[in-house]
Symmetry: C2
Subunit: 392 residues, 2 copies
């Protein structure tokens, strides 16, 4: 006998998925329309319109791919690169590494600009490499989920375009939390995931493509290696043609539509300032507790904070106690940072004053219990101070 | 101002998606766990166990891929074929064609055995081709969604194995509606979609892989071209290692778990016999109305019936009236059969006596209105007769 699902209460403060509003969960459980139903086509249109709003773009080709953020990454590479094409990728964390892996698998000639995990990449290093490599595509991660680093984009965008390259950006963790500004920054290809600052369940990867990049797509010499992620066909399902490609994940699109509607209602400006204010409050609180942050202040992401695990503290046990006692999920480190950092998310629905003070309180409890000498309540007091400053 | 979703009532009797039980919709809207939460890992284990039950297999590697059925197809090809490998594909409809397209994109040496759309392929034709081509993989669609044809598998499986090839089967439309019998038939690689006879929303592609095929996977000379669909990594997330690959679509897996639980509760034997009984009733009813079916009796799928559009009848208008007046969705023809057939689904939750009589009644109304001379009530009367026979 298999029983119905029973799931404990969680507060998702890791690197994603984030908590999802009950309104989104309710929308997701709406009975199905067929994927070619005229009423569903309307919902698709509105979803594209809302995606353009959060991407800050007028790009016609702005669609959710039917997979998670990594499918978005693969879409971005396999459609705009062909075997032998040169690509220059900024690598400063796991997701930059993954980009290089994905590009290598399609037979691209992969070049990288590398930086220590936890630091952004100096645009000057891109400049040198772009001159040397002459890439067709320059790619970088906006918000590196493995480190909490924000990579400034403007200079790299300009350099890429000055040298005739397309500019490709991973904004899985940034979209909906800080401004991505696809048109303002002049990004050609951007992808994201539904489960971070959009606060929709995982399963969709919003993608947007500039006219310049669509021209490259039209000029391809061979078919896209992935049938499933082939934008030349997918744009004809989401576009006026409505050609059947694959069965869209109906309920996931309902959920995304509702998550985006909620964002539109809040407004991007208000949403970004909420993330900034509460992210700073959390970071100030952690420092007031005597903990050290991985990333230098100007490059810290508000929605994802990397805290160094204090010397002699058992990383996994602290996370386990937070989960078991308080239902709070945070993330551990990946790759080079495994066991060395905690990743604390304040994304979308999870980004609330309640979660900031709860997490700081819970962490203080767990660390004290393990013998750390912490100034009582200092973290929360400082966080509240910063929240209030930020509110003025 | 973007409003909340409002969606009209539909009865999904097309080629999929099918109607989804309110229990599945409710399970899907359960608040999220993280994709590495110990409680979620338990749900993954149970989901794999339930998938083994519907696939009728002991295969350890039996997982839902994070995409729709077409992602399952791509998974099946890109993991087990490398550029230059010979593959033999049975093509008797759109999804066989798609297989050849997918295999061609990865650089496989693609050979086909073709048959007219609407007929199964004679195993003798596979025998000749297998001897000639010496393929690494022999692939065929079990239930061709574009035609409603059931392809017998046993003889082809034996031929493939006699000649050292892997046997790959698309059971997108068959799984959960007729027996696929992965272990009994000795299928090496099978994939499906969540939105047909499993009656779960679209978005997941269950896949199962035999030990023989896993050996081929282990022996690959190069990385799988798709990072997202790479089973060598995905098996380590779903297996004991629990290595993070991509963020699983949490709520879709909740939904699949519940849909499979409902199937387990009904029992496969009972479920197959329900599909068979009601499929036969529908088909008998349509014939009693004087309509012609595309497929010969022994090869008709119970869950998907292709009816020829009567001479002089406007295909799309009939479907439009069924949708607008009765909320009933059926499918049109694809490719060579566009405008020539209707595809009527009785899949999973949609497969009920209520839907059989409702559809026959509604179709009679719409066709009469368009001037067809039909024996009044003959379709329903005959369908009810067959349902009652089948119930004994």
């Amino acid at each position: 006998m298999v029983h119905e699902l029973k799931v404990p209460d969680r507060i998702l403060m890791g690197p994603g998925p984030s908590d999802v509003s009950s309104m989104v969960l309710r929308a997701m459980s709406t009975p199905l329309l067929g994927h070619l139903d005229p009423e569903f086509l309307e919902i698709m249109n509105r979803t594209m319109e809302l995606l353009r709003y959060v991407f800050e773009t007028e790009n016609a080709l702005t669609v959710p791919m039917s997979g998670t953020g990594s499918a978005g990454m693969e879409t971005a590479f396999v459609n705009f690169l062909e075997p032998g094409d040169r690509v220059l990728i900024g690598v400063k964390g796991l997701f930059g590494q993954r980009m290089a892996d994905v590009a290598g698998r399609l037979g691209a000639d992969v070049h990288t600009v590398e930086e220590e995990w936890g630091r952004p990449i100096d645009p000057a290093r891109f400049e040198e490499a772009i001159r040397r490599v002459k890439p067709k595509v320059v790619a970088v991660v906006h918000a590196e989920t493995s480190t909490g680093v924000r990579q400034p984009l403007e200079d790299i965008a300009a350099l890429a375009h000055d040298h005739g390259a397309l500019f490709l950006v991973d904004c899985v963790t940034s979209l909906g939390g800080i401004s991505v500004g696809v048109d303002r920054v002049d990004i050609d290809i951007a992808y994201s995931g539904s489960q971070k600052c959009l606060s929709c369940p995982p399963g969709l990867a919003p993608v947007t493509v500039s006219e310049r990049a669509r021209e490259v797509l039209r000029g391809r010499g061979r078919k896209v290696q992935s049938w499933y992620l082939d934008l030349t066909m997918i744009q004809e399902y989401w576009g006026a043609e409505r050609f059947y490609h694959h069965t869209a994940p109906i309920n996931m699109i309902y959920a995304l539509h509702e998550a985006l509607r909620i964002i539109r209602e809040e407004g991007l400006v208000e949403r970004f300032s909420r993330h900034l204010r509460l992210g700073r409050a959390l970071q100030a609180g952690l420092e007031a507790m005597g903990l050290e942050l991985l990333v230098e202040e100007p490059y810290r992401l508000p929605m994802l904070t990397a805290v160094k695990v204090p010397e002699g503290t058992a990383d996994a046990e602290v996370r386990g106690t937070l989960l078991a006692r308080y239902g709070i999920e945070i993330g551990g480190g990946l790759g080079a940072l495994k066991g060395r950092i905690w990743r604390v998310g304040l994304m979308g629905q999870s980004c609330s004053p309640k979660n900031v003070v709860l997490f700081l309180t819970a962490l203080e409890d767990v660390l004290r219990e393990r013998g750390m000498d912490l100034p009582p309540g200092a973290g929360v007091a400082r966080a509240v101070e910063v929240m209030e400053e930020g509110a003025h």
